[in-house]
Symmetry: C2
Subunit: 362 residues, 2 copies
């Protein structure tokens, strides 16, 4: 039997910030809230897909909004559980299992709060295998599942139930509401039975981020050994090392959007790099040369500690290592690339897997 306790949360927070590709909300705030919930309600049981019954009702719980807002507007326990309770009322039945929609920053940790308070198990899986900025960028959408009813709440006591036509309308309507609600909200969506969840999620991702967190917290290892262990675990690559020379960040359409320019250091001395983001890191380039793009994962790590740096915590002058990992195969399908590939975000180039880009460079 596996449980999520305060120590597990410490690891998940760190690992989820790596797989969260700089987004998915701020893991430090999520960590504090999840630990508080565990202290209050006790540890949360973590179950694998094998342990999930076909007729158990599973639902995702998450925070929506621009990370720059969430960092200043810490959600209350009520805000996190209100959409859950509203959903149970709407469905007229109890929910059996909670799962994260993404393993990103705060959103690996928020469902722990609902699970702890409700005494429910949490599923060791998510619907992205990373973090993405928009609501339809989930494997459930790729499989054609209906997100309805979608329930939402904010810190003012407003709650909403949406029955959108599809995942794109879920994104549009919930984003418009989130902006009006002050930039952040909490959401429950995709209430699905175990049998459908089993075929459509990305399994074992909470264990994975916990393991990554464990490497990063291992003081016995040097920073570069930790990073190497992590890259090994994720089949990842060290893209470059550098110093943040310039950073542009703005709040637009409910997202934190921007880019960072980096001056290469060590082997990359004299080279310049750019990272583009929309809540999450989306594209990494050396000059005009593509190094990695969404849906593959990009993470920015502190060179001293190997700890991940989120898009809203990137600061001028920080010395970082930028790494990349291949995304889950579900994102490398035509529908996956259409949904979360570079062209969807307005970049004028086709997706190429990070390992292919890597080979071409050699």
């Amino acid at each position: 039997m596996r449980y999520i306790d305060e120590q597990t949360i410490e690891k998940i927070a760190l690992g989820a910030a790596v797989l969260g590709t700089g987004g998915g909300g701020d893991p430090y705030i999520g960590k504090l809230m999840a630990k508080e919930a565990i202290r209050k309600y006790g540890p949360v049981k973590l179950i694998s897909l094998d342990e999930l019954e076909d007729d158990q009702l599973v639902v995702t719980v998450s925070g929506m909004g621009a990370p720059t807002v969430v960092i200043e507007k810490i959600p209350s326990e009520h805000e996190m559980t209100a959409p859950f309770e509203t959903l149970e009322k709407v469905l007229g039945r109890k929910i059996d299992v909670v799962m994260p929609i993404e393993v990103g920053g705060i959103n690996s940790l928020f469902p722990i709060i609902a699970a702890a308070k409700k005494g429910l198990p949490m599923l060791d899986a998510d619907a992205m295998g990373r973090a993405f900025p928009e609501a339809q960028m989930v494997t459930f959408y790729l499989e054609g599942f209906d997100p309805s009813p979608v329930t939402m709440a904010d810190d003012k006591g407003n709650t909403v139930v949406l029955y959108p036509q599809d995942g794109m309308w879920t994104e549009r309507l919930s984003r418009a509401l989130t902006i009006e609600m002050g930039g952040s909200s909490s959401v429950c969506e995709y209430s699905l039975f175990g049998k459908d969840v089993k075929t459509s999620v990305i399994p074992d991702t909470l264990s994975l981020v916990e393991r990554i967190g464990e490497f990063l917290l291992d003081n016995q290892m040097k920073e570069h050994v930790r990073i190497n262990k992590m890259l090994e675990e994720l089949n990842g690559y060290r893209l470059f090392e550098g110093k943040i020379a310039d950073i542009e960040r703005r709040l637009s359409g409910g997202f934190t959007i921007g880019s960072a320019k980096l001056d290469g250091s060590r082997n990359e001395q004299g080279k310049t790099f750019t990272i583009y983001f929309q809540n999450e890191y989306l594209v990494a380039k050396e000059g005009e040369h593509l190094l990695c793009s969404t849906p593959d994962l990009i993470a920015v790590l502190d060179v001293e500690t190997g700890f991940p740096i989120t898009t809203e915590r990137m600061k001028y002058g920080a010395r970082v290592v930028v790494v990349a990992f291949p995304c889950h195969d579900k994102w490398r399908t035509l529908k996956g690339i259409e949904t979360a590939g570079p062209r969807y975000f307005g970049y004028d180039f086709d997706y190429k897997p990070v390992e292919v880009l890597r080979k071409e460079r050699r």
Copy 2:
């Protein structure tokens, strides 16, 4: 027993455009839709407040959005009844009576469609005694009633249930959704029992607009006699007569906002007038001199026919008579003026009743 038939609709459409102070949606479109519903489902029973039982459940049905959008995007019958059906599902019971939220343009006529389709009576009352642009500008709000659950639908098949904190949040959340839905939506709100409705609505307003419509359609009377009869009925005033010399109209925040400049004619030759609007006419001035302001009513009538001209149908060169009527006393309370007076709309002057302004001018 009174019934709404095709003839009644013709009169209501015309009268409601007068009390709709140029807004509340386009009456011509609403008329066509309501007539079609009557032809399909039969006449709708009109009941007065006296006939309403204390334990009957009453709900308002309305269209939301900028009139300029509604004019181009005619709502379907489904769009009008979807929020009604969603509300019944949410409440877990049947609704007994339908009422208009406002006696403005399209919004006196939309509830007829729901009532006809559902075979329900319509209440001879509304919650404004006119039309207003924002959701919280209803007598229910002045009385402190909860609008929840608020149900919404659009032409794409999206439906939403809102539980806003109060009337102001109803406006903010439903407006944000309406904009995202393409600029128009249909809404059910304030499901109240008969006993609460009786103390909080403005009674007999459908009969009133029907009577006004009757005057305006009476070919036996000359145009100026018709207008005089109407002014008498509404304790109103002829403010001025003129030609529209300039018109500014823009879509902003989900509203049709703008102003019209008029050159006086006949007795007002040489004078210039301005009318400001936000979906509805809000302020009328001669030069810098205030003639009438919200919450009192302003209507713009075609000089040839006496027929009302809505804000979105005002055209350069049109010759018009501008008239004004005192609003219901509920709007002349402190809360009423705070909610719908000139300062709420950003005008830097205090509300004065139209009859006081009138006396001061003499």
